[in-house]
């Protein structure tokens, strides 16, 4: 039956067939149930349980897993590592992407050629980006490592924690600049030409126009990108860490997601791993809410 009433998110003209919508939603909801909701609830339950590695005995321990986490040096270290890693990656990515987007917006010739090449890393798997950067900076054979040493600096990401951190930040940023770049190029394109022309008539130069007109208009885009960069840094850089440093040396690049994996699969500490999952979920929830509250529909994309 077709009816016409108004309800948010529903077409004015719509069907009222019973049963069919349930059938249409079934595949999505079943997959969500099995791979999202049940595992999430499991994680929530496990976080309050203490299980020995062979699963023989299980105790309910209230918040012990959480208090143990915050008492452990390696977890606190992991929090700091994650904060530094995501912050550095965010700053590098946005800064480079902004400069490149500004330049792209100014040039007329070769514009689409530049765009095509700069977009390429998006197609490359994080783990492959990681492997290439690990090679470039490999202290024994890497061509860039050779230069660093030729300049008289010590360089060994296998032993020195800050070298390792620098390396993963570079690899993660290299992989992600293209993402921020394309959104910024789209954002600049959406800045009204008349506004820029008026400012030019008033004697504002290109740099001034960019910083005082385009940049404020890009504000929502920048906020959106910052959130997305945090999501990327927190959850999607697992492969880079695993390929380049495996969280080492001595936990110097052991970001939170990598630690969940290590504690859950390598050390088989299920309660702790689940508690870490729950903390990460809470964090992901906050990031997503932030993103929706401030950014939704304020960014104008037309490329």
């Amino acid at each position: 039956m077709v009816a016409t009433t108004h309800e948010p998110g529903l077409k004015h003209a719509h069907f009222q067939t019973a049963g069919l919508p349930a059938l249409l939603l079934l595949p999505q909801l079943l997959i969500l149930l099995f791979f999202f909701f049940i595992p999430s609830i499991r994680a929530l339950m496990q976080a309050f349980l203490l299980t020995d590695p062979f699963g023989a005995s299980v105790h309910f321990v209230w918040f012990d897993n959480f208090t143990a986490l915050f008492a452990s040096d390696s977890y606190r270290n992991s929090i700091w590592v994650t904060i530094w890693f995501t912050l550095a990656q965010n700053v590098v990515t946005i800064a480079v992407a902004l400069v490149l987007a500004f330049a792209t917006d100014r040039v007329v010739r070769f514009q689409s050629g530049y765009k095509s090449v700069i977009l390429l890393p998006y197609a490359i798997a994080p783990v492959i980006a990681g492997v290439m950067w690990a090679f470039l900076f490999n202290p024994a054979v890497g061509p860039i490592a050779f230069f660093i040493k030729a300049l008289g600096f010590q360089w060994d990401p296998n032993r020195n924690g800050s070298d390792a951190m620098l390396l993963v930040v570079l690899a993660a940023s290299w992989k992600h600049i293209c993402y921020d770049y394309i959104f910024l190029v789209a954002g600049l394109l959406a800045v009204p030409r008349s506004l820029m022309e008026a400012a030019a008539v008033d004697g504002a130069g290109p740099i001034r126009r960019f910083s005082q007109i385009a940049l404020p208009l890009l504000g929502p885009t920048l906020f959106f990108l910052t959130t997305m960069n945090f999501v990327y840094g927190f959850f999607e850089t697992f492969a880079i860490i695993d390929a380049v440093t495996r969280g080492g040396p001595a936990g110097a690049t052991n970001i939170l997601v990598y630690k969940v994996y290590q504690d859950g699969f390598v050390n088989l500490d299920l309660g702790s791993s689940a508690a870490q999952s729950v903390l990460l979920m809470t964090f992901a929830l906050l990031l997503t809410l932030l993103q929706f509250k401030y950014v939704e529909r304020k960014v104008n994309y037309s490329i």
């Binding site: 999505q28 909801l29 595992p39 492959i128 993402y179 999952s277």
Partner: protein, 306 residues
């Protein structure tokens, strides 16, 4: 632009060239390393011009990592994820925007919530769910104490153990990644912009709901589907964490995992030349997809992130 300023334009070109160098540098060195012998690659400094052993290294990598099988797996998984995600998202978006039913808002929120829960954060429980997808039913049975009930009724003891192991299977690699809130919202957003008159006209012609979906809505969504498919193909091809966990058998792994196994560790011979040629081989399909479908790719990227 408004005024001419050749110097600034010049600087902009230089900046962009710098960006291109930044993007291409790792790729160039990967290519150089991939074309050298193992002795040459260990020279310090490494040669800056390609050698003549590229195909030879590629052949070594192909055999060493069994890329024939792994690339096939990657194609199956990436295409499976793409088709699965597009199909179930289209159906859910259709149900949510074109049907009025009692739990419409609830269904909407269930899908919406999953957007906030990246799969990466529940590594262990999701692994359990794939290792035995029947586990939830088992938990339910245990919870309801069906065994005890049966024993009480019939006097005989039975053991209920359900198992549906999806490790080392294509469905295990595909299904957990197929649910997609963002694709559902993309299509929902698009459906809301489709003119109302279309459905009314279709109704006058006596079309059923599914017929309207197939003959009108689906053709209209074609460009959205193409754009999104490109992004999803890249997503599927480049997956790392789940193939790493869900495949313990070597020939069920994906190509990306194969590259990781080629990385020289401190206790192995430093075959960086083989590793780099393998890396180039595995990045080729997604790079080609992006280069060929550039226009759609950008649309898909910008749309699906909204």
């Amino acid at each position: 632009m408004v005024e001419r300023s050749p110097i600034l334009t010049m600087i902009c070109h230089l900046v962009l060239l710098g960006g291109i160098v930044l993007v291409c540098l790792p790729l160039y060195f990967a290519f150089i390393a991939g074309s050298l012998t193992m002795e040459e690659v260990q020279q310090v400094p490494m040669p800056w011009l390609p050698g003549g052993h590229f195909l030879e290294n590629l052949a070594t990598a192909w055999i060493k990592a069994d890329f024939g099988q792994l690339l096939l797996n990657s194609f199956i998984v990436a295409i499976g994820i793409t088709i699965g995600k597009v199909a179930i998202s289209l159906l859910s978006a259709f149900a949510i925007t074109y049907f009025r039913f009692r739990f419409r808002i609830l269904a909407f929120w269930l899908i919406f919530t999953s957007l906030m829960l990246p799969v990466e954060v529940r590594i262990v429980p999701t692994y359990e769910a794939v290792a035995n997808a029947a586990l939830p039913i088992q938990w339910m049975a245990d919870f309801l104490n069906i065994q005890g009930l049966w024993e009480w009724i019939s006097g005989s003891r039975i053991e209920i153990t359900l198992e549906w192991n999806m490790l080392n299977t294509y469905q295990g690699l595909i299904l957990p990644l197929v649910a997609s809130a963002s694709a559902t919202f993309l299509f929902r957003q698009f459906f809301l912009t489709v003119p109302e008159e279309l459905l009314e006209a279709a109704r006058l012609d006596g079309a059923s709901a599914m017929r309207f979906f197939w003959t009108i809505l689906l053709p209209l969504s074609r460009s959205n589907i193409i754009a999104l498919s490109i992004i999803l193909f890249l997503y599927g091809w480049n997956q790392y964490l789940w193939p790493l966990l869900f495949t313990t058998e070597k020939d069920m792994a994906t190509a990306v995992i194969g590259v990781k196994h080629l990385i020289p560790r401190s206790d192995t011979e430093p075959a960086w030349n083989v590793a780099m040629s393998g890396a180039l081989l595995v990045m080729l399909p997604p790079v080609l997809v992006v280069l060929i479908m550039q226009r759609w790719f950008v649309r898909g990227l910008v749309d699906s992130s909204k």
